[in-house]
Symmetry: C2
Subunit: 155 residues, 2 copies
């Protein structure tokens, strides 16, 4: 991970934050999102738990889409110590733990924060968000297209 904290002129730095990959749509949406952000010219870092990163990396064996990856806790420590920051963050949340990660980002980073809230309890979970962010909420479990459509509107 770039530890300079700086932003190259004209290039957005975007963070994709992946919690526990319990819900099948996460890996697909993460790869699609990383691809779309890199396609528009962003520098993209994908931070995730061990399992989330294994799943995304294995689905992209030649590394066409994913870009740079890092451990989620190391990434958060790096931001909170002022060693790195991002212009935008897309945080995935299908449980309280995911919301907690997103909330942490909202407090320590200057990034414009999008929280993708999905899974069977997406709507109830979205109501627990009390920090400043833009929520993208879809009851998606197996079908990634509702979440994809919400992302397409903001990318």
């Amino acid at each position: 991970m770039d530890s300079s904290g700086g932003v190259s002129p004209g290039r957005r730095r975007s963070l994709i934050l992946l919690g526990c990959p319990e819900v099948p749509v996460q890996t697909s949406i993460a790869l699609y999102l990383a691809y779309r952000l890199r396609e528009r010219g962003d520098e993209v870092v994908v931070a995730g738990t061990g399992a989330a990163l294994k799943l995304t990396k294995l689905a992209d064996p030649l590394g066409h889409y994913l870009g740079e990856t890092t451990n989620i806790d190391r990434c958060i420590a790096s931001i909170s110590e002022g060693k790195a920051d991002f212009d935008q963050c897309f945080a995935f949340a299908h449980s309280d733990a995911g919301i907690t990660y997103a909330g942490t980002i909202s407090y320590i980073s200057r990034a414009l924060l999008f929280v993708l809230i999905f899974g069977r309890s997406a709507e109830e979970l979205a109501e627990t968000v009390e920090f400043d962010c833009r929520k993208l909420v879809a009851k998606a479990v197996h079908d990634p297209l509702p979440l994809k459509r919400l992302l397409d509107e903001v990318i």
Copy 2:
């Protein structure tokens, strides 16, 4: 889908069969497997339920890995009518439904059949298999590497 039923000289035709994508490892392993089979020169068809195909396609937006896709029921109908067949089949199963699909293939196709059995009840599920196949069994839910290792041994 090629409906000639023929096999090009020197090229294996391989089928990847994806049931309901309840368990997160399926999408990642399917993309990795399609990539590895195509890399060795196989003609690969990925047949799946609607949701399984949406998840794998979205994770591979430029189509680097996946290759040809088709609906699972149409694919099975095509084989049972003698319009298509394969040299090898890799059937994914984390539930009774997945085992049923694999069993159907064992009865209608001449393909060498591998059944990837995964998820929390992988071992119990593997014991229900009574048709001729090679079982690859791993209790994988979030971590795809145990299943990847089993595949690497047979590819």
